[in-house]
Amino acid sequence: MEIKVLGTGCAKCKSLEKNTIAAVEQLNLEAKIEKVEDIMEIMKYGVMVTPALVADNAVVVKGRVPSVEELKSILTQ
Protein backbone atom coordinates (compact mmCIF):
# COMPACT_ATOMS: atom_id res chain seq x y z
CA MET A 1 0.00 0.00 0.00
CA GLU A 2 1.19 3.48 -0.79
CA ILE A 3 0.34 6.08 1.82
CA LYS A 4 0.98 9.80 1.52
CA VAL A 5 0.62 12.39 4.25
CA LEU A 6 -0.12 15.78 2.68
CA GLY A 7 0.73 18.86 4.65
CA THR A 8 2.87 21.97 4.54
CA GLY A 9 4.51 21.27 7.86
CA CYS A 10 2.19 22.54 10.57
CA ALA A 11 1.71 20.82 13.92
CA LYS A 12 -1.43 19.01 12.79
CA CYS A 13 0.35 17.51 9.79
CA LYS A 14 3.06 16.13 12.02
CA SER A 15 0.59 14.47 14.37
CA LEU A 16 -1.24 12.95 11.39
CA GLU A 17 2.06 11.49 10.18
CA LYS A 18 2.79 10.15 13.66
CA ASN A 19 -0.66 8.55 14.01
CA THR A 20 -0.44 7.05 10.54
CA ILE A 21 2.92 5.45 11.28
CA ALA A 22 1.51 4.05 14.52
CA ALA A 23 -1.59 2.69 12.79
CA VAL A 24 0.46 1.03 10.05
CA GLU A 25 2.76 -0.55 12.62
CA GLN A 26 -0.11 -1.88 14.71
CA LEU A 27 -1.79 -3.36 11.65
CA ASN A 28 1.46 -4.85 10.40
CA LEU A 29 0.69 -3.35 7.03
CA GLU A 30 3.07 -3.58 4.14
CA ALA A 31 3.05 0.14 3.37
CA LYS A 32 5.28 2.91 2.15
CA ILE A 33 4.59 6.15 3.99
CA GLU A 34 5.65 9.35 2.33
CA LYS A 35 5.36 12.93 3.54
CA VAL A 36 4.39 15.40 0.80
CA GLU A 37 5.20 19.01 1.63
CA ASP A 38 5.33 20.57 -1.83
CA ILE A 39 2.23 22.65 -2.34
CA MET A 40 2.07 21.91 -6.10
CA GLU A 41 2.07 18.19 -5.34
CA ILE A 42 -0.60 18.63 -2.68
CA MET A 43 -2.84 20.52 -5.07
CA LYS A 44 -2.75 17.62 -7.51
CA TYR A 45 -4.99 15.73 -5.13
CA GLY A 46 -7.57 18.49 -5.13
CA VAL A 47 -7.20 18.98 -1.39
CA MET A 48 -8.03 22.40 0.05
CA VAL A 49 -7.53 21.71 3.73
CA THR A 50 -4.42 20.18 5.17
CA PRO A 51 -3.50 17.78 6.66
CA ALA A 52 -4.76 15.10 4.33
CA LEU A 53 -4.10 11.41 3.91
CA VAL A 54 -3.87 9.63 0.58
CA ALA A 55 -4.00 5.85 0.42
CA ASP A 56 -3.35 4.27 -2.97
CA ASN A 57 -4.13 7.56 -4.74
CA ALA A 58 -7.46 8.15 -3.01
CA VAL A 59 -7.93 10.95 -0.49
CA VAL A 60 -9.23 9.25 2.65
CA VAL A 61 -8.80 11.98 5.25
CA LYS A 62 -8.79 15.75 4.89
CA GLY A 63 -8.59 18.65 7.27
CA ARG A 64 -8.46 16.69 10.49
CA VAL A 65 -6.30 14.31 12.52
CA PRO A 66 -8.11 11.03 13.23
CA SER A 67 -7.03 8.89 16.17
CA VAL A 68 -4.81 5.85 15.64
CA GLU A 69 -7.86 3.62 16.13
CA GLU A 70 -9.85 5.45 13.49
CA LEU A 71 -6.90 5.42 11.10
CA LYS A 72 -6.66 1.67 11.52
CA SER A 73 -10.24 1.21 10.39
CA ILE A 74 -9.77 3.71 7.55
CA LEU A 75 -6.65 1.94 6.29
CA THR A 76 -8.18 -1.54 6.41
CA GLN A 77 -11.18 -0.53 4.33
Binding site: T8, K44, G63
Partner: protein, 348 residues
Protein backbone atom coordinates in the same frame (compact mmCIF):
# COMPACT_ATOMS: atom_id res chain seq x y z
CA UNK B 1 -23.85 -8.72 21.80
CA UNK B 2 -20.74 -6.59 21.66
CA UNK B 3 -22.22 -4.79 18.67
CA UNK B 4 -25.21 -3.91 20.79
CA UNK B 5 -23.05 -2.59 23.61
CA UNK B 6 -21.04 -0.52 21.19
CA UNK B 7 -24.17 0.99 19.70
CA UNK B 8 -25.52 1.83 23.14
CA UNK B 9 -22.18 3.39 23.99
CA UNK B 10 -22.36 5.47 20.85
CA UNK B 11 -25.83 6.66 21.78
CA UNK B 12 -24.64 7.58 25.27
CA UNK B 13 -21.78 9.60 23.91
CA UNK B 14 -23.83 11.10 21.13
CA UNK B 15 -27.01 12.23 22.80
CA UNK B 16 -27.21 11.56 26.49
CA UNK B 17 -24.01 13.14 27.74
CA UNK B 18 -24.58 16.49 26.05
CA UNK B 19 -28.18 16.43 27.25
CA UNK B 20 -27.12 15.70 30.81
CA UNK B 21 -24.33 18.24 30.69
CA UNK B 22 -26.55 21.12 29.64
CA UNK B 23 -28.55 21.54 32.88
CA UNK B 24 -25.33 21.17 34.85
CA UNK B 25 -23.76 23.87 32.70
CA UNK B 26 -26.70 26.22 33.25
CA UNK B 27 -26.75 25.72 37.03
CA UNK B 28 -23.01 26.26 37.26
CA UNK B 29 -23.01 29.32 35.02
CA UNK B 30 -25.83 31.14 36.78
CA UNK B 31 -24.39 30.48 40.23
CA UNK B 32 -20.80 31.21 39.38
CA UNK B 33 -20.82 34.65 40.97
CA UNK B 34 -22.19 33.21 44.20
CA UNK B 35 -19.78 30.27 44.18
CA UNK B 36 -16.68 32.39 43.59
CA UNK B 37 -17.72 34.93 46.24
CA UNK B 38 -18.49 32.14 48.70
CA UNK B 39 -15.10 30.59 47.98
CA UNK B 40 -13.24 33.86 48.54
CA UNK B 41 -15.19 35.22 51.51
CA UNK B 42 -16.20 32.10 53.42
CA UNK B 43 -13.79 29.31 52.57
CA UNK B 44 -10.56 31.26 52.16
CA UNK B 45 -11.91 33.91 54.52
CA UNK B 46 -10.00 36.76 52.90
CA UNK B 47 -10.63 40.34 53.93
CA UNK B 48 -12.76 42.32 51.47
CA UNK B 49 -11.50 45.29 49.50
CA UNK B 50 -7.81 44.38 49.72
CA UNK B 51 -5.96 44.39 46.38
CA UNK B 52 -4.93 40.75 46.62
CA UNK B 53 -8.44 39.58 47.49
CA UNK B 54 -9.99 41.48 44.61
CA UNK B 55 -7.34 40.08 42.22
CA UNK B 56 -8.20 36.55 43.32
CA UNK B 57 -11.94 37.22 43.18
CA UNK B 58 -11.66 38.49 39.60
CA UNK B 59 -9.51 35.51 38.60
CA UNK B 60 -11.62 32.84 40.26
CA UNK B 61 -14.78 34.24 38.72
CA UNK B 62 -13.52 34.98 35.21
CA UNK B 63 -11.55 31.79 34.43
CA UNK B 64 -14.42 29.29 34.90
CA UNK B 65 -16.88 31.72 33.31
CA UNK B 66 -14.82 32.07 30.15
CA UNK B 67 -14.11 28.33 30.05
CA UNK B 68 -17.81 27.48 30.39
CA UNK B 69 -18.77 29.91 27.64
CA UNK B 70 -15.99 28.58 25.41
CA UNK B 71 -17.08 24.97 25.75
CA UNK B 72 -20.70 25.79 24.96
CA UNK B 73 -19.98 28.05 22.00
CA UNK B 74 -17.23 25.89 20.47
CA UNK B 75 -19.62 22.95 20.70
CA UNK B 76 -22.44 24.90 19.06
CA UNK B 77 -20.25 26.39 16.34
CA UNK B 78 -18.71 22.94 15.87
CA UNK B 79 -22.14 21.48 15.03
CA UNK B 80 -22.82 24.26 12.53
CA UNK B 81 -19.38 23.81 10.97
CA UNK B 82 -19.93 20.14 10.21
CA UNK B 83 -22.53 21.31 7.67
CA UNK B 84 -19.99 23.52 5.89
CA UNK B 85 -16.83 22.42 4.10
CA UNK B 86 -14.33 24.41 2.04
CA UNK B 87 -15.50 22.44 -1.00
CA UNK B 88 -19.11 23.49 -0.54
CA UNK B 89 -18.07 27.07 0.14
CA UNK B 90 -16.04 27.13 -3.05
CA UNK B 91 -18.99 25.81 -5.01
CA UNK B 92 -21.21 28.60 -3.67
CA UNK B 93 -18.64 31.25 -4.53
CA UNK B 94 -17.83 30.06 -8.05
CA UNK B 95 -18.70 32.67 -10.63
CA UNK B 96 -20.31 35.06 -8.14
CA UNK B 97 -20.24 38.72 -9.09
CA UNK B 98 -17.98 40.97 -7.06
CA UNK B 99 -20.13 42.57 -4.41
CA UNK B 100 -22.52 39.68 -3.75
CA UNK B 101 -19.53 37.36 -3.78
CA UNK B 102 -17.73 39.46 -1.16
CA UNK B 103 -20.73 39.42 1.17
CA UNK B 104 -21.19 35.66 0.79
CA UNK B 105 -17.48 34.96 1.18
CA UNK B 106 -17.26 36.98 4.39
CA UNK B 107 -20.29 35.23 5.90
CA UNK B 108 -19.01 31.81 4.85
CA UNK B 109 -15.63 32.74 6.31
CA UNK B 110 -17.24 32.67 9.75
CA UNK B 111 -18.80 29.20 9.49
CA UNK B 112 -16.35 27.31 7.27
CA UNK B 113 -13.73 25.38 9.24
CA UNK B 114 -10.43 27.14 8.69
CA UNK B 115 -6.91 26.89 10.01
CA UNK B 116 -4.26 29.36 8.93
CA UNK B 117 -1.92 26.55 7.86
CA UNK B 118 -4.52 25.71 5.19
CA UNK B 119 -4.54 29.28 3.86
CA UNK B 120 -2.43 28.44 0.79
CA UNK B 121 -4.21 25.30 -0.47
CA UNK B 122 -7.49 27.07 0.15
CA UNK B 123 -6.38 30.15 -1.76
CA UNK B 124 -5.15 28.03 -4.66
CA UNK B 125 -8.29 25.90 -4.63
CA UNK B 126 -10.51 28.98 -4.80
CA UNK B 127 -8.51 30.70 -7.53
CA UNK B 128 -8.37 27.54 -9.60
CA UNK B 129 -12.13 27.15 -9.43
CA UNK B 130 -12.54 30.68 -10.80
CA UNK B 131 -13.49 32.43 -7.57
CA UNK B 132 -12.40 36.06 -8.12
CA UNK B 133 -9.32 37.24 -6.16
CA UNK B 134 -11.31 39.91 -4.32
CA UNK B 135 -13.91 37.39 -3.19
CA UNK B 136 -11.18 34.98 -2.05
CA UNK B 137 -9.67 37.77 0.03
CA UNK B 138 -12.97 38.54 1.73
CA UNK B 139 -12.95 34.93 2.86
CA UNK B 140 -9.33 35.01 3.98
CA UNK B 141 -9.89 38.18 6.02
CA UNK B 142 -13.15 37.11 7.67
CA UNK B 143 -12.12 33.54 8.52
CA UNK B 144 -9.41 34.27 11.08
CA UNK B 145 -10.78 37.60 12.31
CA UNK B 146 -14.29 36.52 13.24
CA UNK B 147 -14.05 33.34 15.24
CA UNK B 148 -15.93 31.71 18.05
CA UNK B 149 -13.17 32.25 20.60
CA UNK B 150 -13.18 36.01 20.00
CA UNK B 151 -16.96 36.00 20.20
CA UNK B 152 -17.02 34.18 23.53
CA UNK B 153 -14.33 36.25 25.18
CA UNK B 154 -15.83 39.54 24.04
CA UNK B 155 -19.30 38.52 25.18
CA UNK B 156 -17.97 37.21 28.47
CA UNK B 157 -15.80 40.19 29.34
CA UNK B 158 -17.70 43.10 27.76
CA UNK B 159 -21.21 41.84 27.07
CA UNK B 160 -23.04 40.82 23.92
CA UNK B 161 -23.30 44.34 22.52
CA UNK B 162 -19.54 44.66 22.07
CA UNK B 163 -19.38 41.11 20.67
CA UNK B 164 -22.00 41.99 18.06
CA UNK B 165 -20.22 45.25 17.22
CA UNK B 166 -17.06 43.23 16.65
CA UNK B 167 -18.75 40.72 14.36
CA UNK B 168 -20.53 43.32 12.28
CA UNK B 169 -17.54 45.65 11.89
CA UNK B 170 -15.32 42.63 11.14
CA UNK B 171 -17.75 41.59 8.41
CA UNK B 172 -17.85 45.09 6.95
CA UNK B 173 -14.04 45.25 6.83
CA UNK B 174 -13.83 41.82 5.16
CA UNK B 175 -16.51 42.70 2.59
CA UNK B 176 -15.09 46.09 1.62
CA UNK B 177 -11.40 45.12 1.70
CA UNK B 178 -12.12 42.17 -0.59
CA UNK B 179 -14.29 44.29 -2.84
CA UNK B 180 -11.59 46.95 -3.13
CA UNK B 181 -8.89 44.36 -3.84
CA UNK B 182 -11.15 42.98 -6.58
CA UNK B 183 -11.75 46.45 -8.06
CA UNK B 184 -8.03 47.23 -8.15
CA UNK B 185 -7.45 44.29 -10.52
CA UNK B 186 -4.42 42.97 -8.69
CA UNK B 187 -4.18 39.62 -10.48
CA UNK B 188 -0.77 40.64 -11.84
CA UNK B 189 0.62 40.63 -8.31
CA UNK B 190 -0.31 37.03 -7.69
CA UNK B 191 2.62 34.66 -8.25
CA UNK B 192 2.48 33.55 -11.91
CA UNK B 193 2.45 29.83 -11.25
CA UNK B 194 -0.79 30.09 -9.31
CA UNK B 195 -2.91 30.43 -12.45
CA UNK B 196 -1.25 27.50 -14.16
CA UNK B 197 -2.14 25.06 -11.39
CA UNK B 198 -4.51 22.33 -12.36
CA UNK B 199 -5.52 19.99 -9.64
CA UNK B 200 -6.01 16.35 -10.51
CA UNK B 201 -9.57 15.93 -9.36
CA UNK B 202 -12.34 18.39 -8.87
CA UNK B 203 -15.20 16.11 -7.91
CA UNK B 204 -16.42 16.58 -4.38
CA UNK B 205 -16.10 13.56 -2.21
CA UNK B 206 -18.57 14.35 0.51
CA UNK B 207 -18.21 12.60 3.82
CA UNK B 208 -21.55 11.25 4.92
CA UNK B 209 -21.84 12.18 8.56
CA UNK B 210 -24.35 10.77 10.97
CA UNK B 211 -25.55 12.91 13.84
CA UNK B 212 -23.32 10.87 16.11
CA UNK B 213 -20.31 11.74 13.92
CA UNK B 214 -21.19 15.41 14.12
CA UNK B 215 -21.41 15.34 17.91
CA UNK B 216 -18.17 13.41 18.04
CA UNK B 217 -16.48 15.99 15.80
CA UNK B 218 -17.59 18.66 18.23
CA UNK B 219 -16.07 16.82 21.16
CA UNK B 220 -12.83 16.71 19.24
CA UNK B 221 -13.09 20.42 18.38
CA UNK B 222 -13.71 21.40 22.00
CA UNK B 223 -10.83 19.25 23.20
CA UNK B 224 -8.48 20.55 20.54
CA UNK B 225 -9.29 24.26 20.87
CA UNK B 226 -9.53 24.36 24.66
CA UNK B 227 -6.36 22.27 24.88
CA UNK B 228 -4.58 24.81 22.71
CA UNK B 229 -5.73 28.03 24.36
CA UNK B 230 -6.45 27.36 28.04
CA UNK B 231 -3.00 28.53 29.08
CA UNK B 232 -3.34 31.80 27.15
CA UNK B 233 -6.68 32.39 28.81
CA UNK B 234 -5.34 31.79 32.29
CA UNK B 235 -2.32 34.04 31.69
CA UNK B 236 -4.47 36.70 30.01
CA UNK B 237 -7.04 36.74 32.80
CA UNK B 238 -4.23 36.60 35.37
CA UNK B 239 -2.69 39.77 33.95
CA UNK B 240 -6.18 41.23 33.77
CA UNK B 241 -6.84 40.38 37.41
CA UNK B 242 -3.59 41.98 38.56
CA UNK B 243 -4.17 45.14 36.56
CA UNK B 244 -7.79 45.20 37.70
CA UNK B 245 -6.67 45.64 41.28
CA UNK B 246 -3.27 47.33 41.08
CA UNK B 247 -3.25 49.73 38.11
CA UNK B 248 -5.06 53.06 38.66
CA UNK B 249 -8.23 53.41 36.61
CA UNK B 250 -7.27 56.26 34.27
CA UNK B 251 -3.69 55.20 33.86
CA UNK B 252 -3.78 54.80 30.09
CA UNK B 253 -6.45 57.31 29.16
CA UNK B 254 -4.01 60.17 28.57
CA UNK B 255 -2.17 58.19 25.85
CA UNK B 256 -4.84 56.00 24.35
CA UNK B 257 -8.11 57.70 25.30
CA UNK B 258 -10.56 58.83 22.65
CA UNK B 259 -9.39 62.48 22.67
CA UNK B 260 -6.10 61.55 21.07
CA UNK B 261 -6.45 61.08 17.32
CA UNK B 262 -3.23 59.09 17.09
CA UNK B 263 -4.47 56.44 19.54
CA UNK B 264 -5.99 54.26 16.82
CA UNK B 265 -3.07 54.23 14.35
CA UNK B 266 -0.66 53.73 17.25
CA UNK B 267 -2.67 50.74 18.47
CA UNK B 268 -2.52 49.19 14.98
CA UNK B 269 1.21 49.83 14.64
CA UNK B 270 1.72 47.94 17.87
CA UNK B 271 -0.87 45.29 17.00
CA UNK B 272 0.20 44.11 13.53
CA UNK B 273 3.64 42.69 14.42
CA UNK B 274 2.24 41.12 17.57
CA UNK B 275 1.13 37.60 17.00
CA UNK B 276 -1.42 36.14 19.30
CA UNK B 277 -4.76 34.46 19.09
CA UNK B 278 -8.03 35.85 20.36
CA UNK B 279 -7.64 33.91 23.60
CA UNK B 280 -4.43 35.69 24.52
CA UNK B 281 -5.24 39.19 23.42
CA UNK B 282 -8.81 39.77 24.57
CA UNK B 283 -8.23 39.53 28.34
CA UNK B 284 -5.43 42.09 27.84
CA UNK B 285 -7.80 44.30 25.86
CA UNK B 286 -10.31 44.17 28.69
CA UNK B 287 -7.64 45.62 30.96
CA UNK B 288 -6.83 48.33 28.43
CA UNK B 289 -10.48 49.38 28.34
CA UNK B 290 -10.82 49.30 32.10
CA UNK B 291 -7.78 51.52 32.47
CA UNK B 292 -9.09 54.24 30.20
CA UNK B 293 -8.34 53.15 26.62
CA UNK B 294 -11.35 54.00 24.46
CA UNK B 295 -13.38 51.18 22.91
CA UNK B 296 -12.53 52.11 19.31
CA UNK B 297 -8.79 52.09 20.02
CA UNK B 298 -9.03 48.79 21.89
CA UNK B 299 -11.11 47.17 19.11
CA UNK B 300 -8.60 48.38 16.52
CA UNK B 301 -5.74 46.91 18.52
CA UNK B 302 -7.50 43.57 18.87
CA UNK B 303 -8.48 43.36 15.20
CA UNK B 304 -4.96 44.13 14.03
CA UNK B 305 -3.49 41.45 16.29
CA UNK B 306 -5.97 38.76 15.24
CA UNK B 307 -6.58 39.58 11.56
CA UNK B 308 -3.10 40.58 10.44
CA UNK B 309 -0.41 38.29 11.69
CA UNK B 310 3.17 37.96 10.61
CA UNK B 311 3.21 34.15 10.24
CA UNK B 312 0.15 34.24 7.99
CA UNK B 313 1.71 36.99 5.89
CA UNK B 314 4.86 34.89 5.52
CA UNK B 315 2.74 31.92 4.42
CA UNK B 316 0.91 34.09 1.89
CA UNK B 317 4.22 35.36 0.52
CA UNK B 318 4.49 32.00 -1.28
CA UNK B 319 1.58 32.84 -3.55
CA UNK B 320 1.52 36.65 -3.54
CA UNK B 321 4.08 39.20 -4.68
CA UNK B 322 5.14 41.76 -2.10
CA UNK B 323 3.16 44.56 -3.76
CA UNK B 324 -0.01 42.54 -3.23
CA UNK B 325 0.87 41.85 0.39
CA UNK B 326 1.55 45.55 1.01
CA UNK B 327 -1.80 46.48 -0.55
CA UNK B 328 -3.56 43.78 1.47
CA UNK B 329 -2.08 44.99 4.77
CA UNK B 330 -2.72 48.62 3.79
CA UNK B 331 -6.38 48.09 2.96
CA UNK B 332 -7.17 45.98 6.02
CA UNK B 333 -5.34 48.36 8.38
CA UNK B 334 -7.16 51.25 6.72
CA UNK B 335 -10.47 49.54 7.40
CA UNK B 336 -9.53 48.89 11.01
CA UNK B 337 -8.48 52.54 11.47
CA UNK B 338 -11.82 53.74 10.16
CA UNK B 339 -13.72 51.40 12.48
CA UNK B 340 -11.59 52.56 15.41
CA UNK B 341 -12.25 56.22 14.66
CA UNK B 342 -15.97 55.66 14.24
CA UNK B 343 -16.30 54.00 17.64
CA UNK B 344 -14.14 56.56 19.36
CA UNK B 345 -16.26 59.27 17.77
CA UNK B 346 -19.62 57.74 18.66
CA UNK B 347 -18.21 57.02 22.10
CA UNK B 348 -19.69 53.72 23.29
Amino acid sequence: MTDKIISINRKLNGFLYPLLMLPLWIILYWNLNFISNYFIDNILNLSKGVHLTETLRFFIYEVPKVMLLLILIIFGVGIIRTYFTPEKTRKVLEGKSLFTGNILASLLGIVTPFCSCSAIPLFLGFVEAGVPIGVTFSFLIAAPMINEVALVLLAGLFGWKVAMIYISTGLIIAIFSGWLIGKLKLEKYVADWVFSIKSGKTEITEDKLSFYDRINNCYQAVKEIVGKIWLYIIIGIGIGALAHAYVPADYLSSILGSENWYGVPLAILIGVPLYSNAAGVIPIVSVLIEKGVSLGTALAFMMSVIALSLPEIIILKKVLKWQMIAIFIGIVSGGIIIVGFIFNYIGF
